[in-house]
């Protein structure tokens, strides 16, 4: 029995890259508030006032500044049943993306292309606000947004997925699942998707000349060609005026508008998502875009670092 325990402890330390990483920096509320039992009551009774009192001091209930992202961690390739996978944590928000390739006939209207099928799921597991059953509005909107980003940024050129023109192509199923919903879903989904695509390795497929049947060789796998690296940054507008980056679920529920800016490595805008809410001045939007470009560099660095460390044998 003893060896099992020792086994466990040692597994725990090597877990950092293969499994979950939960040792994310904990961001506590300022001590002057947590010590006070009144504060908890204040928070639940008057959430808006509670947040305002922090924002007045240019900080947020979790101790962040207005333009500060939560700690972002990433690990890749932890799911061996998927062709590529990534787990992203932004603060508490946890998103997992798994990519599986399947073979199909190319679309009739574009015989030299393959398919990319992204879907975002918000299972009841990730938050009490989601019910079991078919995807709700939130999940549908997220799926569509991710599909749009893939389409407009050309992360992967669909021509790369064609194996035999008009006969055979790859279908990349990118299934994104939220495991812990604490705001800023879209940013996390995009990072997870990008990292999983970079991690993905598809087996080699040849077509037998005689039988015209595909033959798959699992031993030799190739990685995908990633043309662009779209990375998002989300903001919310608080009280029609204050901009906050990387909102938590609570902040999102109090916001008057949300906006997501997606940029690529050439600092070009891939997508801009602002579903309703209060209006925004051009100057503020410009600020968002420049914050998004700096965020892009940070995330790129993170992804490259993780992929590099996954390559070097432990």
């Amino acid at each position: 029995m003893k060896h099992l325990l020792i086994n466990l402890v040692s597994r725990g330390t090597e877990m950092n890259f293969v499994g979950f990483r939960s040792d994310v920096r904990t961001l506590d509320e300022p001590t002057w508030l947590t010590k006070n039992t009144m504060a908890a009551g204040f928070k639940t009774a008057e959430p808006l006032e509670y947040h305002r009192s922090f924002l007045k001091e240019n900080c947020r209930p979790d101790g962040r500044e207005l333009g500060e992202f939560r700690t972002t961690t990433l690990n890749i390739g932890s799911i061996s049943t998927a062709d590529g996978s990534a787990l992203v944590k932004i603060g508490n928000t946890t998103v997992m993306c798994g990519i599986k390739g399947e073979l199909a006939n190319p679309p009739v209207d574009a015989p030299n292309k393959g398919y990319i099928v992204p879907n975002v799921d918000l299972p009841p597991l990730c938050s009490s606000r989601f019910r079991p059953g078919p995807p709700g509005e939130r999940a549908q909107a997220a799926s569509q947004f991710i599909a749009d980003v893939i389409e407009s940024s050309a992360v992967i050129q669909k021509e790369d997925l064609c194996i035999v023109k008009g006969k055979l192509c790859w279908v990349l199923y990118c299934d994104i699942m939220c495991l812990d919903f604490d705001g800023n879903l879209l940013d996390a989904c995009l990072i997870a998707l990008l990292a999983a695509l970079k991690n993905a390795r598809l087996p080699e497929v040849t077509v037998n000349k005689e039988t015209e049947a595909p033959e798959v060789n699992l031993e030799s796998r190739r990685s995908l060609n990633i043309h662009k690296h779209p990375v998002g940054a989300s903001f919310i507008v608080f009280d029609d005026s204050i901009m906050i980056v990387d909102p938590t679920a609570e902040e999102e529920s109090l916001s008057t508008a949300t906006i997501t800016v997606v940029t690529d490595e050439e600092e070009r805008l891939c997508a801009l998502h602002k579903p309703g809410g209060t209006s925004l001045s051009g100057e503020k939007l410009q600020n968002c875009i420049s914050r998004a470009t700096t965020r892009h560099k940070e995330v790129r660095k993170l992804i490259d670092k993780v992929i590099q460390s996954a390559k070097t044998p432990k």
């Binding site: 029995m1 325990l5 466990l8 725990g12 877990m15 499994g19 979950f20 939960s22 932890s78 799911i79 061996s80 049943t81 998927a82 996978s85 508490n92 946890t94 997992m96 798994g98 990519i99 599986k100 390739g101 399947e102 073979l103 199909a104 006939n105 679309p107 398919y115 099928v117 992204p118 879907n119 799921d121 299972p123 009841p124 597991l125 990730c126 009490s128 079991p132 078919p134 995807p135 999940a139 549908q140 799926s143 569509q144 599909a147 279908v171 199923y173 299934d175 699942m177 495991l179 812990d180 604490d182 087996p203 497929v205 049947a213 595909p214 033959e215 798959v216 060789n217 699992l218 031993e219």
Partner: protein, 277 residues
């Protein structure tokens, strides 16, 4: 077939590449008959070492993550909250609701987003296994929701789901009579494989190549009460094989017990640090 308008759709038919494997590379049997592919011994109570952690999901009342070999599961518990079904005649005790799902990328063949009948069956088995362990009469008029997500399926998912869910229930502070632990075995010839991997579960490593089901068994066990709360088997086996299998599974559960206990007490200590006085 009804079209799913709420998701991004792909082509109507697509096939898994594993159906087109080159025939030459497909069969590569390991020569040694004694050890299993992952190095464990046949016919011994050699469960995979597990990694467990409680309280990972910030939004849930309680949560747990378990990893055994490549099998990875996560479980969240929400509630107790007011029951949704008002027509229940018996309101004196609470309701336990279980939902077990496979992530689409968790299996060798890509799964669908829509819950299949096997997932519903697993949810039901999970419910049957957990219910005897939970003091439901302490939660009148309320429901407790248990959600399990299989992130990677490498065999014995039901057994690990039971263990994981009971940890999440404990982490949520739901009153329980006992922990519920799960263990699976698969009979192979005269010997057995405890805590089988996905390949072993589907009989893919048999030398004969036949996919004969000589018996698979999953037991859910309450260790300190010495009660079996869940039992399921399929495949043809004799009565003595069955009783022997149940005994082996109980033994397997006892191997797991201290590990789970330790993880839980660690989680409790983290939540409520000992007072400094």
């Amino acid at each position: 077939m009804p079209t799913d308008t709420k998701r991004v759709r792909g082509p109507e038919v697509s096939q898994s590449p594993s159906l087109f494997l080159c025939k030459t590379a497909a069969k590569k049997s390991t020569a040694s008959n004694d050890a299993r592919v992952d190095g464990r011994q046949r016919g011994q109570v050699d469960v995979r070492s597990v990694f467990v952690r409680c309280g990972l999901i910030s939004q849930a009342k309680g949560s747990a993550y378990i990893e055994a070999g490549n099998t990875k599961l996560i479980c969240c518990v929400y509630g107790p909250r007011e029951t949704e079904r008002k027509d229940e005649t018996d309101m004196k005790s609470g309701r336990l609701i279980t939902d077990m799902r496979f992530a689409p990328f968790s299996c060798r063949e890509r799964g669908s987003w829509i819950q299949g009948s096997d997932e519903k069956d697993l949810s039901l088995m999970l419910l049957e296994s957990l219910r005897p362990g939970v003091c439901l009469q302490k939660y009148p008029r309320s429901q407790i929701e248990v959600n399990v997500m299989v992130l990677e399926n490498d065999g014995a998912v039901l057994a690990h789901a039971v263990t994981c869910a009971s940890m999440a229930l404990a982490d949520a502070g739901i009153e329980m009579y006992d922990l519920v632990l799960g263990c699976s075995i698969r009979q192979e010839g005269a010997t057995y494989l405890i805590d089988p991997t996905f390949l072993e579960e589907n009989g893919c490593n048999l030398a004969s190549g036949s996919r004969e089901n000589l018996g698979s068994l999953t037991v859910a066990f309450l260790p300190s009460l010495n009660q079996i709360s869940g039992l399921q088997s399929d495949g043809e086996m004799g009565e003595d094989t069955l009783t022997g299998g149940v005994r082996t599974c109980i033994e397997g559960c006892f191997k797991l017990y201290p590990v789970i206990q330790q993880a839980l007490s660690k989680a409790v200590r983290r939540k409520a640090p000992p007072s400094e006085s």
